[in-house]
């Protein structure tokens, strides 16, 4: 899952980015409104955490511009301006969730996860698909026979993306975009390696290779 963090406070970004990364998100940071709007329109993000008090262009304006371009990127508004009229205005501008500062990281993570589930029409709680269940906190996967497998960071990100987009053809470049952030070394061949490792953990036939197209995570076997 690739996440856009639009926040101008360096100190907050530093701690938040680490927390988000360890929760299995590829995080890109935009320090001002103009950058945030540009990045959000790249269509490579699964979710955005948007501060309303951004310099150069306010978060509300960024959000309105995204929505006016029919950009449906799920957005959690993060702001110190937590008066109710500001929340209402935020939702009117197209926010999907709202979190007032100061906040606990756990709450932000829970809200991001809930929003991702909602936007891919998955019920809340643990991610279940094809007999697998993914524990997002522990970053483990439980297979049908009750075996628990630990996942590495990239494996977890990849499996979660598969689970949230089960049944769809996912190209290697799309998987790369949603699993890595800007700062990472990108090599789409590495995806093959990770898919192989995942297959070892969750079963070979769950991830189907479509030659020339990409991969499909099969919803049912």
């Amino acid at each position: 899952m690739r996440l856009l963090l639009a926040e101008d406070d360096r100190a907050l970004v530093d701690t938040l980015k680490k927390d988000l990364q360890s929760a299995g998100y590829a995080v890109d940071v935009a320090g001002n409104g103009i950058d945030a709007e540009y990045l959000g329109n790249e269509m490579i993000y699964d979710v955005a955490v948007l501060d309303l008090g951004l310099p150069q262009r306010s978060g509300i304006e960024v959000l309105k511009n995204w929505r006016s371009k029919a950009n449906r990127l799920p957005v959690i508004v993060l702001t110190a301006r937590n008066a109710w009229h500001e929340r209402v205005d935020g939702f009117k501008a197209g926010a999907d969730d709202y979190l007032g500062k100061p906040f606990h990281t756990e709450e932000l993570l829970a809200r991001i996860s809930a929003l991702l589930h909602r936007s891919s029409q998955q019920p809340g709680g643990q991610l279940h698909a094809a007999g697998l269940s993914l524990d997002e906190e522990q970053q483990t996967v439980t297979t049908e026979d009750g075996q628990i497998h630990k996942l590495t960071g990239i494996e977890f990100r990849l499996l979660r993306y598969f689970l949230l987009h089960a049944g769809k053809v996912l190209t290697k470049s799309r998987l790369t975009e949603h699993v890595y952030d800007f700062d990472s070394e990108k090599d789409s061949n590495v995806i093959e390696v990770y898919v192989r490792r995942l297959r070892q953990k969750v079963g070979n036939d769950r991830i189907e290779t479509r030659r020339g197209q990409g991969y499909v995570f099969r919803d049912s076997c």
Binding site: T15, A83, K101, P102
Partner: protein
């Protein structure tokens, strides 16, 4: 205070009545006077004609040349009479029949005008004049019945009164029209004040007469200044909240991850949490507009659905069914931001605790009554009493029904309203009863 229109109207009506009555009296009096003068001068001419037709014979007896006397003096009770008195005797006109005129003796060269009742109750005007003819002094008294002329005068007075009354009515009608017309700007301003109160206007119209313009300009100026001040202080407070909360967030994030001893970490967390909640509450209280009409007003039709949508999003993990029971087209003359903050906090509490259902009903008469009920677990009655206490102290927190309700209580007390919490008899959960008095301009 009495309205300007009825005050001016009464004054004008009274002065018109007085003017017309005085005119009527003056004209009537003068007409009577002129008529009498005219008759008197005619009678004097008759007296002189009579004088020329009388003569004394050798025995000093009075003789009259009947051919020279007007025939009207010969018809009985014709209304024209004369009496000629000398030292030796008197002579009466035939028209007097058996009646007599009481005539005073008037010295030669003098004249006397009197009124007296004649035959058949005729009001008579008498003119007596003293003459000397053939060395004899004689008094000729000529009288005329005033009835015919009085009748004419009465008729004239009646007609005059009727016309005057008609004119009075027309004038009053015209005055009312003129008054209405010239008071129109005031009535318009009155209506505008009403719309201003209901938030349909943010400024009074500039198209007003010169007399009202300074007042309206001044009011508009004040409105602008108040709106600007409110905006400015709200923006400043919002910035302040922002500025305080950003470092607080970092402090909390860093504290949570630090390797401080557990106790110290908990203390730091609690302290920063307290700072946040205190500043939040104080700042929210400071940014209230209160019962003035300077900003945008809350609309149940537009703002409530957005608020509910917001809450539905925030509590997306729950599926709460919200029902609003609101009479159509109610205007709510309360500042939009204040009302959103108030309802937001109360409904947030309801959403937090409800299992499936929340109802909201609004009634507006001289006050706004709002009832919010949920089907959550509620709270025990003792705690409810504690909650409904107004002006809960700043450091006081009621477990589970935290800060939101305290902020709501602050807003309600700012509006001199009342807020109470009960057990909902229908849904079984929390029941919040809210009353805000309305400030009426007109």
């Amino acid at each position: 205070m009495q309205s300007i229109q009825s005050k001016l109207g009464t004054g004008l009506l009274l002065s018109l009545i007085i003017a017309f009555s005085a005119l009527w009296l003056l004209v009537s009096f003068n007409l009577q006077f002129l008529a009498e003068e005219y008759i008197a001068s005619r009678l004097k001419h008759d007296a002189e004609t009579l004088l020329s037709s009388v003569s004394f014979d050798a025995d000093d007896n009075l003789m009259i040349d009947a051919t020279r006397v007007d025939t009207i003096y010969n018809q009985p009770f014709s209304g024209h009479y004369y009496t000629i008195t000398t030292k030796t005797g008197a002579m009466r006109s035939r028209s007097l029949w058996d009646e007599e005129l009481i005539s005073a003796n008037v010295n030669t060269g003098q004249q006397l005008k009197t009124l007296q009742e004649g035959p058949e109750q005729q009001p008579l005007l008498l003119v007596s004049a003293g003459y000397k003819k053939q060395g004899q002094s004689l008094t000729i008294t000529v009288a005329e019945d005033l009835n015919p002329i009085n009748k004419n005068i009465d008729q004239f007075q009646y007609r005059f009164a009727a016309i005057a009354f008609g004119l009075l009515l027309i004038l009053v009608f015209l005055q009312v029209m003129i008054l209405r017309n010239s008071l129109k700007p005031l009535i318009k301003t009155h209506g505008e004040l009403k719309s201003l109160q209901q938030g349909q206007l943010d400024k009074l119209g500039g198209n007003s007469p010169a007399e009202l313009r300074p007042l309206i300009n001044e009011l508009n100026h004040l409105l602008t200044i108040m709106a600007q001040r409110l905006r400015r202080s709200r923006d400043a407070l919002s910035d302040l909240a922002h500025a305080i909360k950003k470092p607080l967030t970092v402090i909390q994030q860093v504290t949570a991850k630090s390797d401080l001893p557990k106790g110290a970490r908990a203390t730091l967390m609690k302290q920063s949490d307290d700072i946040y909640q205190l500043t939040d509450r104080i700042l929210k209280k400071a940014r209230l507009a209160g019962p003035s009409h300077t900003g945008a007003l809350f609309s149940f039709a537009d703002d409530l659905p957005s608020l509910i949508k917001t809450l539905d999003m925030m509590y997306a993990s729950k599926s709460v069914q919200f029902t609003a029971n609101i009479t159509d087209n109610i205007t709510c003359p309360v500042d939009r931001e204040d009302m959103l903050e108030l309802l937001g906090n109360l409904l947030d509490n309801a959403y937090k605790w409800a299992t499936t259902k929340i109802t909201l009903s609004v009634r507006i008469n001289s006050e706004i009554h709002i009832l919010i009920e949920d089907d959550g677990p509620g709270a025990d009655p003792e705690k409810m009493n504690e909650l409904s206490k107004r002006g809960v102290r700043l450091d006081e927190k009621i477990q589970g029904h935290g800060f939101g309700l305290a902020i709501a209580a602050d807003i309600v007390s700012d509006y001199h309203g009342s807020l109470s919490f009960k057990q909902s008899p229908e849904l079984g959960g929390f029941k919040t009863e809210l009353t805000l008095p309305l400030h009426q301009v007109v």
